[in-house]
Symmetry: none
Subunit: 277 residues, 2 copies
DNA sequence: ATCAGTATGGAATATTAATTCCATTTCGAA
DNA sequence: TTCGAAATGGAATTAATATTCCATACTGAT
């Protein structure tokens, strides 16, 4: 019954894929139905598996899977996989290129720029939601919740984040001290046993932040680091690393993801301390 | 120096991968460093790309990428990819599913909270993108671009925004002054003809911010107000109102939309001043 | 039970990607 | 400046993977 594949343009996105899956899957013979069912339930595996793997998991022959791909409107498995791979990495198209294009078209009006930042912000938030390590987050909250005083350090680009944390902790009556380095004074003698520290720093890393964080760590205080990449100077054993990769635009980033993470940390610590559920 | 790869067991998970990345990346030659940097920032692409694609994106030859994989302790690219593919299929389906998972971990867990903030942030950004008045934005940029000096005021909850603007302007060498009210001193005599002011305030409005903004306005300076509601104390003729309605969660908000608007303003003003197209 | 039309399994082939190898270039010490 | 070692680019090789093909097994109508 499904021998002849009607010449059809392949699905371009998940919705089209699902639609086609639905319409196609009525009256499919056994093996092809297995394919449909397996793929419907395991959409996320398509991007990272080979036909052979998927076929084995669906308990059919690779050739059956191939036929199914064609019935779905793709030229073959590769084309289908291409769709899912592109969707998967949609969280990171090349922003600088897009922006360059936008500017070349003379569309550098403030509103166009805003659209870019909004977009970048949304992507950053999505990445944060998918990439955050819940275990590390729990760990960070636990170590901060029992601290006598929470020291905050973040300079230059990261200063707003530290400042916001300071505001949030004050609101929740959690003792916190913002090290803003005014007057080049680094109140590091304020770090006392029983305290903890949150350090926020992004490439290019600010030395003062690193120094204070390492000093606290050396003194045996719990340290939580909010940073960007995997390779950063605060990646040392014992420091809880919370990684945020903000999609940025040139030298600037909107800090959406970073602030969301920070506020989460603050509220979690605050409610745990105050016994609020 | 990196010719001989010490026989080493390959990283088994992201943590180990990151650790190894860190230790390895000191004193790497040019091309290999490019690999390290690219991969560090694009970890999520590894699962769904070919060596050739990654190499091209990192602007190196495939063989360089292969060498890097070996330095990382893998037998080759395939083994490294295997690690990321296995993590992918277990850890993250799609974003919305992931959010649901985060929430499922218990209502008061940090991860659940993070999901809420991420969601709130996204909604705020969407609203901002659709609700912003392009004309007012243009007007704000125009009046700021010609100012001699830009004064910034935002206290308490809004302070991080003012601080970030201050950072951004400094980066772009636009003269700006952050009125942070330390020591309860309000340098209002610093407001001079030819200057302009950006005031950021949200309900409950901080009196000092209002005062300074009104003083500037009375002195005939252009004033741009970043605020929430339509009815706010700065809604007076002559003050350019930029409205942001941040969706908040509990008592706190992540400021995603506000910061995006702020950074847009800063970059627009900066590039108009510096004549950058 | 027989036949025509499908469906299926599995091996054969074509394609694409990973990996290696080596000639050439670059870098740094003498 | 010269030499040797390390790094690099790119082509050649090898391995893996997708895709096709066809002989065989079903299925259901007569």
């Amino acid at each position: 019954m499904n021998g002849q594949v009607p010449p059809q343009s392949p699905p371009q996105n998940i919705e089209e894929f699902n639609d086609r899956l639905k319409t196609v899957s009525t009256g499919l013979p056994k093996r092809l139905r297995q394919c449909a069912e397996y793929l419907a339930e395991n959409v996320d595996r398509i991007a990272v598996s080979t036909v052979a793997e998927l076929a084995a998991a669906a308990d059919v022959q690779p050739s059956a899977m191939m036929r199914f791909c064609q019935i779905m409107g793709f030229s073959g498995f590769s084309e289908m996989q291409r769709l899912f791979r592109s969707i998967y990495s949609s969280a990171l198209p090349d922003y600088s290129v897009r922006l360059a294009n936008l500017r070349d078209r003379g569309a550098d009006s403030p509103s166009a720029l805003l659209a870019e930042f909004v977009d970048a912000g949304r992507m950053s938030l999505e990445r944060l939601a998918t990439a955050v390590d819940a275990r590390l987050l729990d760990q960070a909250v636990a170590s901060l919740a029992s601290a006598q005083m929470i020291h905050l350090v973040g300079l230059r680009r990261s200063f707003p984040v530290a400042a916001y944390l300071s505001y949030a902790f004050e609101k929740m009556q959690v003792p916190a001290m913002l090290h803003d380095m005014t007057g080049r004074m680094d109140y590091r003698q304020a770090l006392r046993p029983g305290d903890a520290l949150i350090a926020i720093t992004f490439a290019p890393y600010t030395q003062e932040t690193i120094d204070l964080a390492l000093a606290a760590h050396a003194a045996g205080l719990p340290v939580v680091a909010i940073t960007d990449m995997a390779m950063n100077p605060l990646r040392v054993p014992g420091i809880v690393p919370l990684q945020v990769s903000e999609v940025d635009f040139g030298e600037f980033r909107a800090l959406s993801a970073t602030l969301s993470l920070a506020i989460t940390l603050a509220v979690s610590v605050g409610s745990r301390r105050n016994g609020v559920k």
